[in-house]
Symmetry: C2
Subunit: 436 residues, 2 copies
């Protein structure tokens, strides 16, 4: 934890030529904690002004951002990053436009902070209610997409939180250029620029420190691959809002409308392969399998989806290979689908309870009671009737924006928007009451 | 973790003469996980029937419970437990009445499970809403009060959770007697008796295992002293709902109604000394100190409260001793009070931000804008205007019951009732919609 951090001098965030990472992160933490009080009491107009001024600053410094991004891309090519990675890293003009547009959209969203609900008189004469308040300081750890810097900062700011952002080392120059625009906007709006801080070192020890300083950081939101998130969750000393896997299921019930079943099962798998809300296992009631699986098999074949089928379904799916136990557990993120015929709703829900990652599951049925049971009994962050799992998304749900998706059970479940970055405290309004 | 557990054979929960604690806790965990699905889908009538049948079983087995409790008390006396400890351990007839009454009250509370809110159509045609659902399996770790066994079990059951209870070793026989009554009631109501399991070993390794099996336990609620809770929080691998300290403040603003200020400051300190919502530091604006402190000093003197005063206030408080830095940080849980004169509202909020444990803070003021600022800006689980901090309590807030108080920021803050033992998942109602 005592590594030398030479990059700091280039960033303008610190004038030290070399610095102890531990001390540096403590400094960011202290600054964030102090700024959190400032941004928590900033009113909606001030926060919106800051968001729009940040958008203006990014617009005004496109060239500076593009140059910094080219520096990262050149270094990435030299390091031999693959094309997918370089694509994620690239800040094209269109992506800069999207960042600016995103800031303006977040400014237009309702402010969750200060909302008072359930204010009621109690027999003692006091009024008791709940007030929505920011969490405090959010730590965001992400990989190579530099546009996350702007997006995550905007959501934390709007929800009244201070944020410490730690992006992938490949995007360090892009992130610093964006950070400067954010600081410009915050200062112009009269908000402590420490409300948004981007970690200015690529030293990995900074991540270890960020997730273990509960005195300064209230929650960590990791965004990236499963291994990153697992590592962070294992080591964090503060709560983590996360999802690890999206092993999503569609269950076609015996009483499904066949047309809806086909539409949903095709869309849930084939509309995008790499997203966490993509179906990975299709469960089909035995009473309807003969009517839907041949058509589905043909549709998947045309789409180039490889099928891994249980013994009962393999005969209905020309070209399918036998599924193994591992298939029920796998989030393929690829044109591969596991297929299983189950006896009935209970067998489907048992399979889901055993193998699901608690992200999103859907039933296709016209049977009212089965729909009700599925909704009630399936313990996932999103449970759907007659809709594609691909709808599990903050924008589709109307959150306006999404900082991530949570498959944990406490605090936020499912897509996490501004509200998930807040909590509720109790407020009591009295008139001199004392307790007997 | 391989200790021999000889008590298990006496409890009826296991017939093994000796058992590996790790294996035993894994067994409880598996059973709890399976029972959680059963109790999650039990309807309100069935859960209420179980609660009333448990109450009946306790009523019918008073003698059995009393005998078991006398066994614990005798062992406690032999071990040299102090009187306060023995008092907490004792199950008098009145306390058994309270347990029975508590079960009936929980049966009468509204069922939080299944509540659907915010169900709205989205432009895609799907309806998106939230459904309140149980957390799953709750682990409760508590000290010597055996009545907690019943109270915690009733709240977990009503909120649709399975629970694993681990009480203090001094109350093992009392807890097992209560556990048998609970099992009787659950079976009579047709609910898997593993929905409520009481750990039948006093081996401390059981606690270590209970808090580190995320595959079986979703949340831990520790109830007891600060050192117990700190130990559990440090080692837990699952979320913990907890509060460590109740270092509560009352701030008497310059524009306070003097009569309300006296009432509240006296009640907040003197109505009970040992509770977490008792005021530990009194902050007074310098503009009103000369008018309220002499009368308050006299009232505290009569009540036998020792005062630890800042240099500015000590002259107004005959008999007070000088406060040290440690006094601002201390939850006395005793007839001791720290007193400090501050310049104004900002100085009071700065002191609170620095020293408070984020439990409960109150302002006494008739000034609208200052009341609003205090409510908005003080970052504690309960924030009050013109009311005694002693109101921070699940019953006073109308929760009907309380499993604990949380001073953490995620999930539940403040008194935690049935709703705090649940979370919300998203539900989507469609009609065949797919994502474009």
């Amino acid at each position: 934890m005592n590594s030398t951090v030479t990059e700091l001098s280039k960033t303008g965030l610190s004038t030290a030529q070399s610095l102890d990472v531990d001390a540096y992160m403590n400094q960011l933490g202290r600054q964030a904690r102090a700024a959190a009080r400032v941004v928590a009491r900033a009113d909606t107009a001030q926060k919106n002004a800051a968001l729009l001024l940040i958008a203006d600053a990014i617009d005004a410094h496109r060239e500076r951002i593009t140059l910094a991004n080219e520096q990262d891309l050149a270094a990435g090519r030299q390091k031999g990053l693959d094309n997918a990675m370089l694509d994620r890293l690239a800040l094209t003009a269109a992506r800069i436009d999207t960042m600016i547009e995103g800031l303006r959209q977040v400014a237009a969203l309702p402010d969750p902070v200060g909302e008072v609900t359930d204010l009621r008189y109690r027999p003692s004469g006091i009024q008791v209610g709940k007030m929505r308040v920011p969490l405090g300081v959010v730590g965001i750890i992400y990989e190579s997409r530099p546009n996350v810097t702007c997006e995550a900062a905007s959501l934390c700011l709007k929800s009244g939180n201070a944020v410490i952002l730690r992006g992938g080392s490949e995007s360090i120059h892009s992130n610093q250029a964006i950070a400067e625009c954010i600081a410009t906007g915050l200062k112009a709006a009269g908000i402590d620029a420490h409300a948004v801080q981007v970690v200015a070192t690529t030293d990995r020890a900074a991540v270890g420190k960020l997730i273990t300083m509960p005195e300064y950081v209230d929650v960590i939101v990791p965004r990236g691959g499963k291994s990153l998130i697992e590592r962070i969750s294992a080591d964090a000393r503060v709560p983590v809002i996360k999802h690890l896997d999206g092993n999503c299921h569609v269950y076609i019930d015996e009483h499904a409308d066949e047309q809806k079943a086909l539409q949903i099962a095709i869309n849930a798998k084939t509309s995008r392969y790499g997203t966490c809300n993509t179906m990975e296992t299709l469960l089909v009631a035995e009473g309807i399998a003969g009517r839907v699986l041949p058509a589905l098999g043909e549709a998947y074949r045309q789409a180039g989806v490889e099928l891994r089928a249980c013994p009962a379904s393999i005969g209905l799916l020309p070209g399918a290979v036998p599924a193994t136990e591992a298939d029920w557990e796998t989030e393929y993120l690829a044109p591969v689908l596991a297929v299983k015929i189950v006896a009935d709703l209970d067998a489907a829900m048992d399979h889901i309870a055993r193998y699901s990652s608690a992200h999103t599951e859907a039933i296709v049925t016209e049977d009212y009671s089965r729909a009700q049971r599925f909704l009630r009994e399936v313990d996932s962050s999103s449970v759907m009737v007659n809709a594609s799992t691909r709808f599990a998304d903050g924008f589709e749900y109307g959150l306006g924006a999404e900082i991530g998706i949570s498959t944990d059970k406490l605090h936020a479940r499912g897509p996490v928007g501004l509200e998930g970055l807040t909590s509720q405290k109790y407020i009591v309004l009295g008139n001199g009451q004392v307790r007997g």
